[in-house]
């Protein structure tokens, strides 16, 4: 019996969210008295044995060219075979873009109950109950999984990565791999920037910034503190910033450790996408802005005055001239 963790990669490197899944799955194996094992697909640039420090004992490597890019159908069949080899009773994904593509398929294939977006380890004292955020972060649901094999996808930024000592046994696994039906023709990545979905810190701007030409100070702050940049819906809709930066109910939902909202009033739809952030800072000149009710720290003031002063203070703190 095992907890089998899917290790997700981008360009041959393990994603940050997979370290969270590995830590979560290893802890869960300890909790349920089973073995923590993992599966990785396609070519990799990583030292797989070293991933043992996240608690995983064995890693199945299915190395086939057909698995170098995501085709959810092909991935599902490969992971199902790894689950069989590993005698997995629990399969763990990250609820990242690839997890959202593959975990539901695997659930339907194996008739294994899926909880997507778990925010904590299951309660196994009385059944198998997993907590997840629902109503776009406005509440949590406790879901009981009623099937012998269970699938959990862990919400990004919800479970602390824990690394110790240890080496994993790497087992090359030969399985039937179908030919992909999906052909990737181009990948457009914003290089050198932290992906918003994986960012620990996010600096976000709203309509209060008056125009795209005023984003310099937002980008400067983001760079100073190692943050990704984001924006509210009206900003994306006005094409001041690209759509993929839009956070909120209909954009990306994020839960970074720090979310700094500048010139954003905090509509209920915007809050739904960011309310699980651990520390929320609001800078807005309107003291009645609803965002202050959801914030941990705030300044009622003009962003054009406050933000450059904050940037100067951060530089001073970091000893940057």
């Amino acid at each position: 019996m095992s907890v089998l963790i899917f290790i997700d990669q981008a360009e041959g490197h393990v994603k940050k969210t997979s370290y969270e899944a590995l830590s979560y799955g290893s802890k869960l194996a300890e909790q349920t008295g089973t073995s923590a094992e993992a599966v990785i697909l396609g070519k990799t640039n990583e030292d797989l044995a070293a991933l043992g420090k996240y608690g995983v004992k064995k890693i199945y490597h299915i190395n086939s060219e057909a698995l170098n890019n995501l085709d959810a159908q092909v991935y599902t069949n490969a992971i199902a075979q790894a689950a069989e080899a590993s005698k997995a009773t629990i399969i763990v994904f990250s609820n990242n873009v690839d997890g959202k593509a593959v975990a539901p398929r695997l659930s339907a294939k194996l008739k294994a109950g899926l909880v997507s977006g778990a925010v904590a380890l299951p309660d196994t004292n009385n059944g198998f109950i997993i907590k997840k955020a629902v109503f776009s972060g406005k509440a949590f649901a406790k879901i009981t999984v009623n099937t012998p094999v269970k699938i959990i996808s862990v919400q990004p930024n919800s479970y602390q990565v824990s690394a110790g000592e240890g080496t994993a046994e790497v087992v090359p696994l030969s399985v039937t791999v179908d030919a992909p039906k999906i052909k990737i023709t181009a990948v457009n990545k914003v290089s050198g920037k932290v992906p918003l979905s994986e960012a620990d810190r996010v600096v976000s701007g709203g309509r209060g910034l008056k125009g795209p030409e005023n984003w310099g100070m937002i980008e400067e702050m983001a760079e100073l503190i190692g943050a990704a940049t984001a924006c509210s819906r009206p900003v994306a809709d006005s094409h001041w910033r690209p759509h993929h930066e839009h956070v909120g109910q209909t954009g990306l939902a994020i839960a970074p450790n720090l979310y700094i909202a500048i010139g954003i009033s905090g509509s209920i739809q915007h809050l739904a996408g960011v309310n699980r952030s651990k520390t929320i800072v609001v800078i807005n000149k309107d003291p009645e802005a609803p965002f202050f009710k959801a914030a941990d720290y705030g300044i009622v003031g003009d962003a054009f005055d406050v933000v450059p002063k904050m940037n100067a203070a951060i530089k001073k703190m970091k000893g940057i001239q």
């Binding site: 593509a101 649901a141 904050m310």
Partner: protein, 247 residues
């Protein structure tokens, strides 16, 4: 070409979230119901745009829900669907819903099945993938663009920190999000036409759900905002560094 758009009924984005029966049921008292925004704004509108380019296209809508889902189905028909199918069952879990949709789709053989990327109530992001698996079709999730040339679809999908463009032949299942299309408002002609469009009600297939909801809870309230005077932003930086330890 035949397109199936999966539609879900969800509480309005501004609905107050509360629970009853010892926190085991969503409190529907005073809740306004809408079409799940991802289903409406992106999946359905993109399907309508495809039909506008190729008049031979037929759009079917499918929802799994009780009779109280009919107003939102009529609204979807007013936007532009040709006919709707309601599977007369209360939702149990995503596998239950996906299985009902797959049962509806199987005999028809749709070229394209669109879902929203998630519903704004249970945020599962699961229906599209499950339907695709049950029908043994390719699945492209989190699509932000969709174009069709003959039977070849060119799709842009979200990846971490960017996007990926892929090609895949029909039939397939796609989950849709922002970028696919722009929100529309039904016009009077659409609303009138929707009244007479077919809305077929069918009984559910016998499917066992794989999961069940044990209870709900609300997040603990925030302790309250700590306000720093506007003339002292340096103090905010200090607090973030020394107290919150986030920078």
């Amino acid at each position: 070409m035949k397109i199936l758009v999966c539609i879900s009924k969800t509480p309005d984005t501004t609905a107050k979230i509360a629970f009853t029966d010892n926190n085991t049921k969503f409190d529907t008292n005073g809740v306004q119901w809408i079409i799940n925004p991802y289903d409406e704004w992106y999946a359905l509108v993109r399907a309508i745009e495809l039909k506008e380019k190729d008049a031979a296209t037929v759009i079917h809508l499918c929802t799994v829900g009780a009779a109280d889902a009919e107003p939102i189905i009529r609204k979807a028909l007013a936007l532009g669907g040709d006919e709707a199918i309601r599977v007369n069952a209360e939702s149990q879990d995503s596998f239950y819903i996906a299985s009902q949709i797959a049962e509806v789709a199987k005999p028809v053989g749709y070229d394209l099945i669109f879902t929203g990327k998630e519903t704004i109530d249970y945020n599962g992001s699961s229906i599209g993938g499950m339907v695709a698996e049950l029908l043994n079709l390719p699945y492209v999730s989190l699509a932000t663009k969709f174009d069709l040339a003959g039977t070849k679809a060119t799709i842009t999908r979200e990846i971490e920190g960017g996007e990926e463009i892929c090609e895949v032949d029909l039939p397939l299942v796609v989950s849709c999000q922002k970028g696919m299309a722009e929100q529309r408002i039904p016009n009077m002609r659409g609303i009138m036409a929707a009244r007479t469009k077919p809305l077929k009600v069918i009984e559910p297939a016998a499917i066992d759900a794989l999961t069940s909801i044990t209870g709900f809870e609300l997040p603990p309230p925030k302790a309250g905002v700590k306000l720093v005077p506007a003339d002292n932003p340096e103090e905010l930086v200090r607090l973030l560094h020394e107290e919150a330890k986030v920078i």
